[in-house]
Point group: C2
Chain length 179, copies 2
């Protein structure tokens, strides 16, 4: 069988305008004090790929038009709605008031293994990814509805944060769209 | 409930020596002409986290002790066995002779959706990730036993290659270890 790589046209990606109008997952991703612009840019690409509705950024996370963010996001900063929150407590209050489940990605004493978690189509979710060194901030952990972790067998204690985000976002996308 | 972040000690990661002795997945990852040292470093972290047996690098892929690779791999270049192959045809012949299934990650006319693919514990797999711009080389596509792709709904045509690798490697790890 002749197998050929699909061209950009054959991939049939939506235009920026039609993507913005399209229905999204009821899923937000929160960048909690992520230091690297490259990691933030990759988060935008992940959110674009998997149809997340918004990216919320807090703390030291760089925001567009930061040069590293734009360079890595390759245009996804235009397709994905985003907002910066100075006050994390206010963001958490807004999420709670709007019945958004706070899902913290962190290795904690009460974490569920990612593969065992089944998101529900009737719920709204905000997935929190934390700082490259210190992980998710205590205020998010304290207010989490759920902590999930990616089980690992290696010598290191963590994956790169944008890789980790991609795996968790893929899991939500796969489970919620049955693709 | 008091939820607390686990310390490095509580995470109970294996030592370098015990990790090297431990049984691995029958899975190799191949970096086919990946340009960025940061992406190669992230591949090493992925391979360490998910217990892949080897990383094989070809073409322009930078190899340890490249500075960017070491900086991003955070020590995983010590825990994961790796080898550079000048000749991709020779590598493919070796894989075929050793009954390793070649799984190419690419959007092609014959790709299976990642979520629908069930790897088999009795098989050996080599997962091929390609160049950041051009994707997987034709010689790997021509010799692939299977092409898989990560379904996406966004305006961009691809995820970052280390994120893409992480998602595919997580899928194999999850399916093969039932974690």
């Amino acid at each position: 069988m002749e197998v050929k790589k699909l061209s950009l046209k054959e991939l049939g990606r939506p235009s920026l305008e039609s993507y913005k109008m399209a229905e999204k997952l009821n899923c937000i991703v929160i960048a909690d004090n992520i230091r690297s612009g490259q990691n933030i840019g990759a988060l935008f690409r992940n959110a674009d790929a998997f149809g997340f509705s918004h990216i919320y950024l807090t703390g030291i996370s760089p925001v567009p038009p930061n040069k590293e963010v734009l360079k890595t996001a390759l245009g996804a900063t235009e397709s994905v709605a985003w907002q910066y929150f100075q006050d994390e407590e206010l963001l958490i209050k807004w999420l709670k008031d709007n019945h958004v489940k706070l899902v913290v990605v962190e290795q904690t004493s009460a974490s569920t293994s990612l593969g065992a978690f089944r998101p529900n189509l009737d719920e709204k979710y905000a997935i929190v990814l934390g700082n490259e060194v210190d992980g998710v901030s205590p205020v998010f952990i304290k207010n989490a509805d759920l902590c999930v972790e990616i089980p690992q067998v290696g010598t290191k204690h963590s994956l790169n944060v944008s890789v980790c985000a991609g795996i968790v976002m893929w899991h939500f996308f796969k489970e919620l769209t049955a693709i």
